[in-house]
Amino acid sequence: MTLALEILAFAIMVTVALGIYRIERGPTGADRMLAAMLFGTSGVALTLVLAEIAGLGSLRDMALVFALLGALTSVSFVKRAWGAER
């Protein structure tokens, strides 16, 4: 069972690597923000998978915090950073 979870964790890390490529290419700030949103979703999934592998229930609360922070980052990006860069 741990093997399936580890393969899943690896696949999620591959998606993070693809997101890094998008951050590098851009071209606009919104594209980079999309990659950050991808990191939010993948981070939640990865933390939940690691909570199951390690048997640490407290990691699920961390995933909840990641989900909350993901909401805050995109709102603050739209409110602040988007106007400032143009």
Partner: protein, 106 residues
């Protein structure tokens, strides 16, 4: 090598495979699609479905109801915030003058 042993573990593994597929599809869309709006579409739909499959797989293998409820609450929060963020980013991009990609721009 620890292969899935029980039926529940096989069901979990099937959900994990579907979740990994949707996560990879979403990020391949993020890399391959031509503009912000199409990338938003790939990201906010496919990735959240992938997260839903992963969470369902974890919930099948979990042994307490509290954990299942917490997992699905996390998914609900991610879905709500991602729908809101999708609207906010698309609206900001549109009002800042980014034109949507058209097939003749290829």
């Amino acid at each position: 090598m620890t292969l899935p042993a029980t039926i529940g573990e096989w069901i979990s593994t099937a959900f994990f495979a579907a979740g990994a597929f949707f996560f990879l599809a979403g990020s391949i869309g993020l890399v391959r699609f031509p503009d912000v709006y199409t990338r938003l579409h790939a990201l906010t739909k496919a990735d959240n479905l992938g997260l839903g499959f992963v969470i369902t797989g974890l919930a099948v293998g979990s042994d307490s109801w509290i954990v299942v409820v917490k997992l699905y609450l996390i998914w609900l929060l991610v879905i709500v915030t991602s729908a809101t963020a999708c609207y906010l980013v698309a609206n900001a991009a549109r009002s800042s003058g980014l034109e949507p990609w058209r097939a003749e721009d290829r």
